[in-house]
């Protein structure tokens, strides 16, 4: 197979030799070093294939053996070139084509960012743009390890990053650091204050002096557990130790949520009429073609786009966009009171749970419904038992004054 490809590249001729001593002719040819192949006999004539170079030498052999040589077929690249020898501009066009292809694929057309959850993609795109990684730059100017270093430096949240240039796509993969849970420094002395207003239900103190007891009503900001520990109190004076107060203070708090549930809703009934518009997005410039006259009064506009790419890696900055306009008739439906009440209740529950954390319990909830214009207004009051303690750092000056110069900020 490769031999035939090789022969095709060099060019060969199929000839027919007729005469008296064809065998002598063949012997002479092979003695001269000419390679003959695919030799077949056709009654008195012999057909064979010979390379172009060899064919020229055959003439003298034919003369010597008095054989007639006739060309049947010419095959090969040199013949094609000869046929187009006048069309030099076409050859130039070929070269220009390949040149442009190579040059265009040496630019970056797409920058893809993967793996970011906390850091926004726009931020990263902007930062990458500043480093010189954006669509339209020369591919070979970008040094991946440089970019990796710059990214790691500028963003504290990135634990690992890999920058890879494949074809015309730059893929930036990153893994973010695991967020450290907020640990309040256990050595800092602090009090616990109330985060919300409520009625204390239980208090379990692990460190510090409790200042409230169950059934007390506290306002937001009241001191719950003090970080001052009185160690000794006698005639000499009081010795106070300052600790990081730690306790679980649970209280009944009240949540009020109001929600207006619309009584009627609009259902989209699609008539089935669809009009399409096509557009191209090249390098962020939008070009819309063929905009049909949209006679619909109400319609849904669905935009679907596809980015062109030669292979998976050679992505072009050309996006094909299809705008679909689907007509629909808005039909107003009225909800029954029961439906509306149910929906309102669900929505309120959802909102309530969003505001609470895991340890809290809902003791009771009460929803009042009353109609308000076209809506059903639901007012919900929920009583929740939850933790309300919040650490507050003790003022440093208090500590130093209290211990009369001795710094006894202690850890437990």
């Amino acid at each position: 197979m490769f031999l035939s490809v090789w022969n095709y590249l060099r060019g060969y001729v199929t000839i027919e030799v007729s005469g008296f001593s064809v065998e002598r002719f063949m012997n002479l040819a092979s003695h001269k070093g000419i390679y003959l192949w695919d030799i077949q006999r056709n009654r008195a004539k012999v057909q064979m294939k010979v390379s172009i170079a060899g064919f020229r030498l055959l003439k003298s052999c034919a003369k010597k053996t008095r054989c007639k040589v006739r060309i049947i077929e010419k095959k090969g690249w040199p013949f094609i070139l000869y046929r187009y020898r006048k069309r030099k501009v076409m050859g130039l066009g070929f070269l220009i084509f390949f040149g442009i292809l190579y040059i265009l694929s040496s630019f970056v057309w797409v920058v893809e960012i993967k793996g970011n959850t906390r850091i926004s993609t726009e931020e990263l795109t902007k930062a990458l743009g500043e480093y010189g990684v954006k669509p339209g730059v020369w591919k070979y100017k970008i040094n991946p390890s440089n970019i990796e270093g710059l990214l790691m430096n500028d963003f504290n949240d990135i634990a690992w990053t890999a920058v890879d240039i494949k074809g015309t796509k730059v893929t930036v993969e990153l893994t973010e650091t695991v967020v450290k849970p907020e640990i309040v420094d256990q050595t800092t002395p602090c009090d616990l204050v109330a985060e919300k207003t409520g009625l204390i239900v239980s208090i379990a103190t692990r460190a510090g002096t409790p200042k409230v007891k169950p059934k007390d009503v506290v306002q937001k900001g009241d001191l719950l557990v003090s970080g001052e520990l009185i160690v000794k109190q006698d005639e000499e004076g009081t010795v106070i130790k300052y600790v990081h107060a730690d306790a679980e203070v649970k209280a009944k708090t009240r949540y009020e949520i109001t929600y207006d549930q619309p009584l009627s809703y609009i259902e989209k009934q699609y008539t089935g009429e669809v009009k399409k518009q096509y557009g191209i997005n090249i390098l962020d410039k939008k070009l819309n073609l063929f905009k049909p006259r949209i006679s619909f009064q109400n319609y849904d506009k669905i935009i679907s786009s596809r980015q062109l790419s030669v292979t998976k890696h050679f992505v072009l900055p050309i996006e094909g966009i299809i705008y679909e306009y689907r007509e629909f008739i808005p039909v107003t439906h009225k909800r029954t009171l029961e439906e509306a009440k149910k929906l309102a209740e669900e929505e309120i529950k959802k909102r309530l749970i969003a505001q609470m954390d895991e340890e809290s319990e809902i003791i009771s909830h009460d929803i009042q419904f009353y109609p308000y214009e076209e809506f059903l207004r639901a007012k919900a009051v929920a009583i929740v038992i939850e933790r309300i303690d919040k650490p507050q750092v003790i003022d440093r000056r208090k500590i130093i004054n209290g211990t009369k110069g001795k710094n006894t900020a202690d850890t437990n």
Binding site: S30, H31, G33, L36, W37, D38, I39, Q40, R41
Partner: protein
């Protein structure tokens, strides 16, 4: 007396060829290179490679005669064609029915 002279001449001619053969045998050199003998390989009866030939005497679709340093090799068959031909090697394709060595 004349007969003895002729016999001596014959013996002298044969001796150098026999000596060469013996040397290549003992040293295990490739014989087709040293002695110019043709090397024939066959693939069933469909294909035949002949290395080290001197020329083609006759070529027909049913008969091929090849001249070698050893003598004439005659092939009979059907649809015989020469797949390739160079100075040293010749490849015959087709249905070979009979091989004759005419030495």
């Amino acid at each position: 007396m004349g007969r003895r002279k002729r016999k001596n001449k014959k013996e002298e001619n044969i001796q150098p060829i026999n000596l060469k053969k013996k040397v290549t045998d003992i040293l295990e050199l490739p014989k087709e290179v040293v002695l110019n003998i043709p090397m024939i390989s066959m693939l069933g009866n469909e294909e035949m490679h002949i290395e080290n030939y001197k020329g083609i005497l006759e070529y027909d679709s049913e008969r091929i005669k090849i001249y070698t340093s050893n003598g004439v090799l005659k092939l009979e068959g059907r649809g015989l064609s020469l797949k390739a031909m160079t100075t040293e090697e010749i490849v015959i394709k087709g249905t070979i029915l009979r091989i004759d060595f005419l030495i």
